[in-house]
Symmetry: C2
Subunit: 293 residues, 2 copies
């Protein structure tokens, strides 16, 4: 039984869709009110939202590892904020969590369409995703298992995932993608209501997902500055196959660098926030996973 759901926005202060969806629901809470559970909303990094920046000191959505949450010596803006938010929406790993399900709202400058980033293995999480895929066939699922310790916002609750929608520039609200994200949340709340009521959901028995394999960095010089950009023929090709020999980067010397690996799918192609993290795109493998009914 899901008793409490948190919809979180503004984990990154320059991703306005989540910020303004939360503001919308704080003004009109009946839109997200359901009979069998409570829905709360939270603006996560209010200082970063005010400054329209991703973060103040470091990425809040990498700050919820158990080790960092337990480390009292960490006192950056986001380290302190993560502890505060974990107290409110966690506590992470607790047997009596404050919130059962977290959905964290993001946008990306990559052409990711409507997508989910999931690390959680819980059956409820995956049934929710299966329901959303049934209701929104354009939705795609990216499974991230790249870190030793999951430090995402949604990791502090027993169930949850992030929604990533793009292409949206930082600091911009695009009405079309705002409305699609909003619709996805209403489907999620419907799912939880039905799951709580024991409704027959007729979920798909298996799902197509994109499983994280590896991050690909830009070619860089000795100072770490990029020496090439995503090739014009790879730009916007998120969730699309890349084969050996396909154009990958285009250098400042007008040379094309080709892809030399096994066939994979490219995701988060040319996401603005990942230049500093050291990757130009993600490579993923398409798989089918079973959904338990």
């Amino acid at each position: 039984m899901i008793k409490k759901v948190a919809i979180t926005g503004g984990t990154h202060g320059n991703e306005l869709t989540g910020v303004y969806l939360v503001k919308k629901w704080q003004k009109s809470p009946t839109r997200i009110k359901r009979s069998s559970f409570e829905t709360i909303t939270q603006l996560m990094n209010q200082q970063a939202i005010k400054e329209v920046r991703r973060y103040i000191d470091h990425d809040l959505n990498r700050s919820f590892g158990l080790t960092d949450l337990a480390d009292k010596t960490l006192n950056s803006h986001e380290a302190k904020l993560a502890k505060e938010l974990d107290g409110l929406l966690g506590k992470k790993g607790s047997k009596r969590p404050n919130v059962d399900f977290i959905v964290d709202l993001h946008t990306t400058t990559a052409n990711m369409g409507l997508s989910i980033v999931v690390s959680n293995k819980s059956i409820i999480t995956w049934r929710a995703i299966a329901y959303l895929c049934k209701m929104e066939p354009e939705l795609r699922v990216y499974r991230w298992q790249g870190d030793i310790e999951n430090a995402f916002v949604d990791s502090i609750a027993p169930h949850g995932f992030a929604i990533e929608v793009g292409a949206v520039p930082q600091g911009v609200l695009r009405a079309d993608l705002f409305l699609k994200t909003e619709m996805l949340i209403y489907h999620l709340l419907d799912y939880i209501e039905k799951e709580n009521s024991g409704d027959k959901l007729e979920l798909p028995t298996e799902l197509e997902i994109y499983d994280h394999e590896v991050l690909v960095d830009y070619p860089r010089d000795a100072n770490g500055d990029i020496m090439a950009m995503v090739h014009q023929k790879r730009q916007d090709r998120d969730f699309m196959l890349i084969n050996q020999g396909d154009p990958l980067f285009f250098t400042l010397e007008n040379k094309t660098i080709t892809y030399e690996g096994e066939p994979r799918y490219t995701l988060f192609v040319n996401e603005s926030a990942y230049y500093e993290k050291g990757f130009a795109m993600t490579l993923a493998i398409k798989k089918r996973v079973l959904i338990k009914d």
Copy 2:
């Protein structure tokens, strides 16, 4: 006779196209070398480039008014930088300027395509634009005469304009638009070479331009926060006509606000950096102007 041209990038630190074009040319200066004049390049706001922010204290591209340049009491990061850059590339209003022509490279999150923003009235400036329009028929010209005192970067030289290319998210290099911007610069250098040599240029005798009329702000609440976004049917419609009754904004209460003015063209629709400046788009009138041969 044009003796010195400056190509400036990174006036806004999160507009990477200009930054990396300048870096490209600093590595390969022969690409912009021509026989009859000198071409220099300048990274304008290096601290903002490092932080991938538009500016540190305030907008550098609004900091070149003569009054501000003469005011010794102004000591913000950009006020000091503007004085320094005016010493290097100006001096503004001088009879013996250091640079004859400035082209300042920008990107926008709006769907502006390949466009020029011009305030300068000089014949050379307009002949250059006419040549570029001849070489790149998709190029559009936006004339800005909105300020009492022109405070743009290009205002410190006798001739010049800004190039605005979009849609590009902040902090992103898009190879397709990078290459189009680069090509435009080569055309500009070719023009100057030909003009200096007295070549017959066969310029168009008149040009279609979009003349600035007025800025349109978002609906805002008492705290100045936006209460609506650009309507999904107006998004991406830069240089396109808006008529009375056309959808303009979509509110957080799901209401459509329609346009209630005379037919105009919308420009800079939903540019990220203009949320804080207080406008959602520009309205312009399409005109034809004569080019002197």
